[in-house]
Symmetry: C2
DNA sequence: TATAAACTATTACGTAACGTCAGAGTCAAT
DNA sequence: ATTGACTCTGACGTTACGTAATAGTTTATA
């Protein structure tokens, strides 16, 4: 059980924000002390993670609340949407970068505002919200394909983990070896095909998370045996350096 | 001279926003009709572009006003900062994507909020703001290196344009030729080295802008002769297709 | 030339997501 | 017992607009 102060520090949100989220019913702590002090547990933190992700995507808190409290709220689906939205946001930023380059270097004078267009982004987030406030008919339709996606998801995760199992088998060899490097490429490809374009830079970021000693490390090692995460991280480093 | 309606349509901001920006002195139109209707010219639109860029970067309007109205406001420098900030924002989003992947696929359970950390971004934008509200001493120091950067900038732009001059010379050859493809690579490298990491995806976006028929096209053709922009755009397409 | 249709202006009020006090109770340690 | 650190709950302020409401303006058409 954590106090507001601790959660605030850990998650990087202000105490006032936590109090506010409690007030509007977005994130109630699991308990209160006799004096009325808020006490948060791990499940609350998990909720907070989702809230913050949606917040980064500029969802109004009201909508976030509706989504998270929805009876058919599905973590996996939500994360998928979030990833897709992040992808769109990244694209938006890339457009802006090109736009800025245009007026800086090429001296574009006549007025072009296409780069500021957010319709794609807004369209998708509108859809994401609709999913959770929908009519019974719509829900039924959704329900059917939900099972499909749920299964798909398991398969998705399992196949990803298989890659780490493979890594475990060669974790004592050279991370620069052809086998290891090939595995890295397959990890990258797998992410790109199933989730989002995994550039070398992103891959490098992933590598750091793997070897960081946190839960990533633990989970990967659970599949491949101790040292797997660090081994993969090393292989990724080498891979990215060479691709450089 | 454009009316509010026209500017609103073109730039994708609401009329109310334009009226508001006028009211708070962020963007006064150059003129008014006898009836008090706002009239905007191209310079106003240019200002609006900068405003929108800063707004995308989450600068408060007050700060944007201070920056834009500053006597030592420097378009080029501002754009450079904006690009750097966009780069940081992109990185931030990539971190979030990896984070989302972590909890989705790897089942990271224990709580990690590092991905939400905005300190780097905030730090840089703080610095950017400081530049324009700084003490005389600081300003003097800045002034000295301003000349340097101003010169650098000219050189930067000139060298970039030289690439298009080169493109002009081969614009009647095959865009898939080794020469053309090599030129594309040099354009990409130039941007990456001097401005921001220009991935193939970004490059593809640039290509589209080049051939879009707008000012990009005009400006490039001014350096390489008619058809240069489209030629480069074609070469970029081929280049990116081959790179996968 | 009258008059509708479309545009614009200003004023006023509403909203979202907090930040910032202010006043008061709580807890841990000295 | 008191100090310092922490927490609570209002109440009000703020930013960047959206949303009417009311009124004047311009353009097109009958």
């Amino acid at each position: 059980m954590m106090t507001v102060h601790e959660v605030s520090k850990l998650a990087g949100v202000s105490i006032r924000t936590l109090q506010y989220y409690d007030k509007i019913g977005l994130l109630h702590p699991t308990g209160y002390t006799d004096a009325g002090y808020r006490l948060y547990d791990d499940a609350d933190l998990e909720r907070l993670q989702h809230i913050l992700l949606f917040r980064e995507l500029e969802f109004p808190l009201k909508d976030i609340k509706a989504i998270i409290n929805s009876p058919d709220f599905d973590r996996g689906k939500a994360l998928e949407q979030q990833i897709e939205l992040l992808r769109l946001k990244k694209e938006h930023i890339e457009n802006l970068m090109n736009f800025a380059l245009g007026i800086k270097i090429l001296g574009v004078k006549h007025m072009d505002f296409k780069a500021f267009d957010r319709s794609k982004l807004d369209e998708y987030s509108r859809q994401a919200k609709e999913l959770y406030g929908s009519t019974p008919e719509y829900k039924e339709m959704e329900e059917k394909q939900k099972n499909r996606t749920e299964e798909d998801e398991k398969i998705l995760a399992d196949r990803f983990m298989l890659l780490f199992k493979e890594a475990g088998e060669i974790k004592n060899s050279d991370p620069a070896s052809a086998d290891a490097q090939n595995l890295v490429k397959r990890i990258q490809d797998y992410i790109t095909e199933n989730l989002y374009t995994c550039t070398n830079k992103i891959l490098r970021g992933l590598g750091k998370m793997y070897s960081g000693g946190g839960d990533f490390t633990t989970n990967i090692d659970a599949y491949g045996g101790e040292g797997t995460a660090v081994f993969v991280a090393n292989a990724i480093e080498i891979y990215c350096d060479n691709a450089g």
